[in-house]
Symmetry: C2
Subunit: 148 residues, 2 copies
Amino acid sequence: MSKLIQEIDTTIIRAFRGKGYKATPQRIAISRFVLCNHNHPTVHKVYCEVRKAYPTVSLATVYKTIQILKEIGLVHELNLPRDQTRLDSNLNLHLNLVCLRCGSIKDHEDPMIEAIISRVSAAEQFAPREQRFDVYGICANCRGDVIL
Amino acid sequence: MSKLIQEIDTTIIRAFRGKGYKATPQRIAISRFVLCNHNHPTVHKVYCEVRKAYPTVSLATVYKTIQILKEIGLVHELNLPRDQTRLDSNLNLHLNLVCLRCGSIKDHEDPMIEAIISRVSAAEQFAPREQRFDVYGICANCRGDVIL
DNA sequence: ATGGGTGCAAAATCTTTGCACTCAG
DNA sequence: CTGAGTGCAAAGATTTTGCACCCAT
């Protein structure tokens, strides 16, 4: 096991225990996959991948673990239309460029996002806590491809 | 029936027929409610309200009609976490301030949104088509209320 | 050793679909 | 008239839950 994975595992174990949750091997395997994978996987994708290394995990455990990861703030959830929920382990303020053709999601950080949220919140007396900024369209790769 | 509703009905009928869909009384009733209601109702809310005026409409018809409204671009869909899909009939570029306490959603238009999307799209060679910008937090009203 | 966690299966939601009947154009 | 639309119920899809057994602490 690489040095990097060891570090991530340590982080995960600390995060769980710190909130009073047990650091079981299932939870570690699930969390490791979610936090290391920056392709915004679906819950089902996580389940399938984790099962390769850990054939007995159940979908219920995956859902429960992801619930905890959201609660302790290690992942966010993207609710896309015409698609399933996808997980986002980039905790920085960013927007998601969602390709309508290939389904890829690319993060893009931009200081203006912060600015806009501050401004609108001040204007509306709104106390912001989280945000989701998704732009749907066609990615550079798919634009290169052919027709339509 | 008021003058205003007549106008909206005319718009709806034209929109449906223009795309080759029949303008049935059910579709008109559903569309009228969705387009006139700016509280971002859930599908179920639409169903309940339309049923008051039209007791025989089925949930399936409501879903199918909303599907068409999305297709012809008269409504957008907000996919919120920990909540059901909600409908948005404000077609202008705006962000949604979603209150985590009372569930209200307030629109806010801001020219910076356009700017940021243009900039990021240019940088990433991305062709944007739609976007969703939701900020979760506590609204002015709920902040005024009591504790926590 | 013990209370929380796991895995399974069943339930709960939300949304879509198949089909016979109906009605808008 | 006639094909598209409706309403119902059944099927799908995703997520949650109840419960007996297990294991991390």
